[in-house]
Point group: C2
Chain length 198, copies 2
């Protein structure tokens, strides 16, 4: 990697938690200059605008988060255990980034705000939904999940329930809501399991 | 009601949607002065601080929201139909206040922000949880819901899933995620229904 690219990467990594905590409006280029020790000219040499930096920072935060939440997934056999594993990692492992889940934060921040971020976070949720729906579909094909199960519906439900549980846990200052939603999602997964053939 | 009280109520009703849309930091007393047509002195005669007005505005928004979401509930017989009714109203009827669900908005806004609002929204979620858990407990007593069901867990799950569904629907600009979570919560309620005695 060239020195310029390294600097660019370093700026993104330092800016990501600031945007994640404070949102697009709440994080200024001044804040990023202070965090990186760069002058204005140095910063704008790498990023044409705050919007461009915020977009890169979100994509960096997203990558870290997806990596954390899916690490080890390849070793889990079967669709239902894979879904349970993803749910458990979300509940059990805090966001690798200060400020909590970047998808939730950016969704709330951008839903009536920055259109570039809005588009990126919408795609991030769509990708997450696709990954979960593919696991459900695979479970149906393998005879592990009932054929009546709706992959897209289950995917959206898992995402909504986890992100909502996170909202409740943060405002409560307690892990209970997240533990509760994990237990309820386990009930939901049980209810879509195909009857065991005897 | 005295004239002063009427003015106070009018200020709260006009300030509530502004705080709901823009959050505590994003709504200034200047914004409220413009919306109400009052001078600074007139506004501060009724509210000692922006914090006091924001707290009253949240409680007003909460009351409107709870009223909308539970209207007609008394006529629904049985715990499971009551839960389904509450879920359906949340999914089907938009927030009566511009800017969407004030619980969600204030939770996200206050989770690392204003401590007074944080306390109020925490209590609002706790009250909602209590109301839902009481319906589940009533269903268990009546033999309508399995005795293994956990009222607090189900209450937190319903709230988390609905609020999470709202986040996804807003960012998607589509009703699909909310419709999806309603269908999944129906599956979850089916799975806790007591077996019919024959």
């Amino acid at each position: 990697m060239k020195k310029g690219d390294l600097t660019r990467q370093r700026i993104i990594a330092l800016a990501a938690p600031i945007f994640n905590r404070r949102g697009f409006e709440g994080c200024s280029m001044q804040d990023v200059m202070e965090a990186t020790g760069l002058e204005k000219g140095g910063l704008y040499r790498h990023f044409g605008s705050k919007e461009e930096l915020a977009a890169e920072a979100f994509l960096y935060a997203l990558e870290q988060t997806v990596k954390t939440r899916t690490d080890g997934l390849d070793h889990i056999p079967g669709a239902l255990p894979r879904l349970a594993y993803i749910i458990h990692r979300f509940v059990d492992i805090p966001s690798p980034l200060a400020g909590g889940c970047p998808l939730l934060n950016t969704a709330i921040d951008a839903d009536d705000g920055n259109p570039v971020l809005r588009k990126l976070v919408r795609k991030a949720f769509a990708d997450w939904k696709k990954r979960l729906a593919a696991i459900v579909a695979e479970g149906i094909r393998a005879g592990e999940i009932r054929r009546t199960a709706n992959p897209a519906q289950l995917a959206n439900t898992i995402i909504a329930t986890l992100e909502g549980g996170l909202v409740l846990s943060r405002i409560d200052g307690s892990r209970e809501p997240l533990n509760n939603v994990e237990a309820s999602l386990a009930l939901l997964l049980d209810s879509i399991a195909a009857p065991v053939r005897t």
